[in-house]
């Protein structure tokens, strides 16, 4: 299973962190501190798999962001790369040519998309079309509920 997902900027800022295994806030910070130097500046020619504690870290750079997925030793590393890519494609589709700024200002959207794709540490939906549909649908309900609030206010 996936234990956590981190999106880290080139300067070491966390852009997204999702945890599927229980860690206290302190532990989370320690992990992020450990992972950052492992992935930032890693030569892109090297393999994308790193040993991390008793896990494997699958890390890859997409434009200015490093994506890091922590998985079990017996998980399929190659498949995790595809899961990662799948998420990048979803972000790309949602934000239309996603860039780091999109994720900085709309990090909550990035979380919502991730929630539709991964839960409990497993990929739960494998159709990009479906996920986009769900997310669009939820955005719509959200808009409606906002209108509702505004209407109430009036």
């Amino acid at each position: 299973m996936i234990h956590f997902v981190l999106l880290i900027s080139r300067h070491g800022k966390i852009r997204l962190s999702k945890w599927f295994t229980t860690y206290s806030q302190k532990e989370r910070e320690a992990i992020m501190k450990e992972v950052k130097p492992m992935v930032i500046g890693r030569n892109s020619k090297l393999c994308n798999f790193l040993e991390f504690q008793e896990y494997t870290l699958v890390a890859k750079r997409y434009a200015s962001l490093y994506f890091a997925f922590c998985i079990d030793k017996d998980d399929n590393e190659l498949l995790t790369l595809d899961i990662m890519h799948f998420y990048v494609e979803l972000l790309d589709k949602y934000f239309k040519n996603v860039c780091e700024l999109d994720i900085i200002f709309n990090f909550h959207k990035a979380y919502y998309i991730l929630d539709e794709m991964i839960a409990g540490g497993y990929i739960i939906e494998t159709s990009k079309k479906q996920i986009s549909k769900y997310v669009a649908n939820q955005d719509e309900i959200m808009e409606e509920s906002k209108e509702e609030t505004t209407a109430k206010k009036k």
């Binding site: 229980t22 798999f49 595809d82 909550h108 409990g120 609030t149």
Partner: protein, 814 residues
């Protein structure tokens, strides 16, 4: 004074902008502190309309690493709201700001339960996701029933989420597995393949927690194989196709599940299916390779047919040759698993694996090293070790340590000859002596001390290496030790070797060599070794005593107590009142017990030869002499033949005995000898101080059991040629039956030459005996003892007997 209440709080976007505009960390802290204060203030108002906005801002603040605990309860309030936006932000806040360890979390259980029973699928979905991501064991227990129910919901969106929430529940509360076990078959047969995938993952989770439950699911292997078949035969499903592969995610889960539920013997259809996947999956893209990789892992896990296994190994072979580092990495990883079950299959990829040792990627190099190490055996050790040493030159420190450890272990376990062993260790020491574990230095010292023919060569080689390089600690220690022990060879012998001549050294050169290691910055341990080497050299090279004294004196004022003590004691020992015992005291170190190998050997190659005795050679045939050599010089205890000293006590040569006692009275027990490795004083071998005593006659029983008796009566026929020994071998029949077809074969070490006349008869009556004459020439008489490996074959009542024995009870100077 209270700040005027703002009508509209800062929007999330504006906060992010404000933070990004900060030029210093202090500025950022100020902005965050102010915002946090405002948010906290705003939470006090129970009717606050922008609560969700505040929580969203808190998420951002948390991401920057600031404390946000005060927002936790607000998430619960938002979740309880009927407004969708608030609920959505609330659930997001819940999974981000809280974790299982926060007590507040359990307060959400009730809201979640209500949401799970909502008519809105989106809301049910949110509650299930939150449960799947952060629920505590207690929450899992409380909500388990609801989740189970939702696994049969009519909407697949809910079913898939309920299924994966089930995975969290069984993980947290293994006792609830039973509740979900019953639901699994249903979801495995679900019409939505996304639900199937989640079902497979749930089942994998269950099996992981309770491996013995596997058996209950073996019956579903047919179902799983069918699902897999459908998947690989579906042609057009662009929605789920990645890199030309239909839903690799589901494929991988299914293949993984196959390995768990294959049972003792995988069904034919499963084998076929795996073969099909292994053959037909498109390897052009990562997705295809991910499926192939999983397939290979499953094939290796289950008891596959050899054909399937070959297929799997070949796929890994292809991966190994691929330019993609990721593929090479996973290939090495899986071959590491395979090597334990099928060494031969992996051996085929030896060259490619060794090549990976020079990969630019350290992760790959490390895996390759582990694997290479597994592949080493007696037949390829020379080649592989040579290549590993080549890589050692270029390796960075981080990798060197791992490489050196494995390298030394490989040399120790598989070395074909002592000479090669020494040469290889010397190369490693020269290149990376500081990384060499201490045990390796000790075990190499043991080899040198137990192999007399190697000593001169070793000390020359080590001395030359030391002169070139005093940086590598391991090398320095070993060199100093051997210079101390065998320094006499350095002055007296010029050696011709295949790669040139090793010149004899002048005493001065030797002392200078030792001095080089005693610089003020040298490690104390090196100086300790150097001191012991020097004091030993004082008897080996008496001409250099003055320089030796000077060097030892320098250390009298050493700050290290051990060094100082050694220096003081050694200076004392150099005094003339100790002249008489200095010699025996500084004798060569007795052969000490060998240090065990650094690691537990993976093969039985290090076990003593005696455990699987090889047929001894016919006399005069030299083909098996090496075996004998390892046998006799192996430090492992040798099973000794029954040896009895004959009643005729060896006659000592009185002249030499008198000689020995002519000076100051000596204790009759052997003088203790300084052990430079441990610094201890140890008892030398019993024979050590009888060196000059040559018994003219020596009779003993070389072999005895309940059936036969072999006596050796040895004499030195020519007083001028003491290397020759005449042995009369008397074999007698002790049992009450006839012995026929008696044959005695023997083999000896290289420094011995022997011939013997065959017996007049090959049969013995009860009580009868036969006699044979053996002539032995010991070319290293006085230095190396005689040892004979005997094989005795005979037949009693047409039952053949075969006995093996090592005869090594000859006097040491024979």
């Amino acid at each position: 004074m209270q700040a005027p209440k703002k009508e509209q709080p800062t929007r999330l976007r504006d906060l992010i902008k404000a933070v990004r505009a900060c030029k210093t960390a202090a500025e950022e802290r100020a902005v965050v502190a102010q915002e946090s204060a405002e948010i906290r203030e705003s939470f006090r108002d129970e009717t606050y309309r922008f609560r969700h906005r505040s929580v969203a801002k808190l998420l951002f603040i948390q991401m920057m690493g600031y404390p946000t605990n005060f927002g936790q309860v607000e998430c619960l309030k938002l979740i309880a709201s009927s407004n969708y936006t608030e609920k959505r932000v609330g659930y997001l806040g819940l999974t981000q700001l809280l974790n299982e360890k926060d007590d507040v979390l359990m307060m959400v259980t009730n809201s979640m339960q209500i949401d799970m029973n909502s008519s809105n699928t989106q809301i049910i979905g949110m509650a299930l996701t939150a449960l799947a991501n952060i629920a505590t064991a207690e929450m899992c227990r409380d909500l388990s029933k609801d989740v189970c129910k939702l696994m049969s919901h009519n909407n697949s969106y809910i079913r898939k989420r309920a299924t994966i929430a089930g995975a969290r529940i069984v993980r947290k509360c293994p006792d609830l597995i039973e509740d979900f076990q019953g639901e699994v078959p249903k979801v495995l047969e679900d019409r939505s393949h996304v639900v199937v995938m989640n079902g497979v993952n749930l089942l994998l989770e269950i099996i992981k927690i309770q491996p013995n439950i596997k058996q209950a699911f073996v019956q579903y292997s047919g179902l799983v194989v069918r699902a897999m078949r459908n998947l690989i035969h579906t042609v057009h499903s662009p929605e789920h196709t990645i890199g030309g592969v239909t839903d690799p995610f589901l494929q991988v889960s299914l293949i993984k599940l196959m390995s768990k539920i294959a049972g003792a013997e995988p069904s034919e259809e499963m084998t076929d299916c795996l073969a099909q996947v292994a053959t037909n999956t498109e390897p052009a893209k990562n997705a295809g390779n991910a499926v192939l990789y999983e397939c290979v892992r499953t094939i290796m896990d289950i008891s596959s047919t050899s054909g399937l296994r070959v297929l799997a190994t070949n796929i890994m072979g292809r991966f190994l040759l691929n330019r993609d580092n990721n593929l090479r990495y996973v290939a090495l990883n899986s071959l590491l698993k395979l090597v334990k079950v099928d060494l031969l299959a992996v051996q085929r990829h030896k060259t490619t694996i060794i090549d990976c040792l020079k990969d630019a990627d350290i992760a790959i190099r490390k895996k390759a090293l582990e694997l290479t190490y597994c592949l080493i055996n007696e037949s390829n050790v020379k080649q592989i070790v040579k290549e590993m040493i080549d890589f050692l030159i270029a390796a960075e420190p981080e990798f060197k340590e791992a490489l050196v450890t494995k390298l030394c272990l490989a040399i120790e376990l598989h070395s074909p000859t002592k000479q090669w062993h020494f040469d290889s260790v010397l190369r490693v020491l020269t290149l990376a002596g500081s990384y060499v574990p201490e045990e390796v230095v000790a075990s190499t010292a043991h080899i040198i001390s137990s192999t007399p023919e190697l000593q001169s060569y070793a000390v020359h080689k080590l001395f030359n290496a030391l002169v070139d390089n005093t940086e590598q600690q391991g090398l320095v220690l070993l060199a100093l030790w051997s210079i101390g022990e065998f320094g006499n060879f350095l002055v007296s012998e010029t050696l011709k070797t295949s790669d040139g001549e090793l010149k004899a050294m002048t005493p001065n050169e030797i002392i200078q060599g030792v001095e080089k290691t005693m610089t003020p910055i040298a490690a104390d341990i090196c100086k300790e070794y150097a001191l012991t080497a020097l004091i030993k050299l004082s008897v080996r090279i008496p001409q250099a005593v003055q320089s030796i004294r000077r060097l030892i004196e320098q250390q009298i004022s050493a700050l290290n107590v051990e060094l100082q003590q050694r220096a003081c004691e050694y200076i004392q020992l150099l005094g003339s009142n100790w002249d008489s015992i200095r010699g025996p005291l500084l004798e060569k170190m007795p052969i000490y017990a060998k240090a065990p190998a650094v690691d537990i050997p993976t093969t039985d190659s290090s076990s003593p030869v005696l455990e699987k005795p090889k047929t001894p050679t016919q006399p005069n045939s030299a083909q098996n002499l090496l075996d004998i050599e390892t046998l006799i010089f192996d430090s492992q205890p040798i099973q000794q033949s029954q040896i009895q000293q004959s009643t005729e006590v060896p006659q000592p040569q009185f002249e030499s005995l008198l000689d020995l006692f002519s000076s100051t009275p000596q204790p009759s027990f052997p003088a203790p000898v300084l052990n430079p490795v441990t610094g201890d004083i140890s008892e030398p071998d019993k024979f050590e101080d009888f060196v000059e005593i040559t018994p003219i006659k020596h009779n003993f029983i070389a072999f005895e059991d309940e059936e036969i008796n072999v006596d050796f009566n040895c004499t030195k026929p020519e007083p001028d040629a003491l290397e020759n020994t005449q042995i009369s071998v008397i074999v007698s029949n002790k049992c009450s039956k006839d012995i026929v077809g008696f044959k005695l074969s023997a083999a000896v070490l290289k420094h011995l030459e022997f011939s013997f006349s065959s017996a007049a008869s090959t049969s013995m009556m009860p009580g009868g005996s036969i006699q044979m004459q053996m002539k032995m020439k010991n070319k290293a008489q006085g230095q190396k003892p005689i040892a004979i490996r005997m094989k005795i074959d005979y037949t009693i009542d047409s039952v053949p007997r075969s006995k093996l024995s090592t005869v090594d009870s000859f006097p040491p100077n024979y």
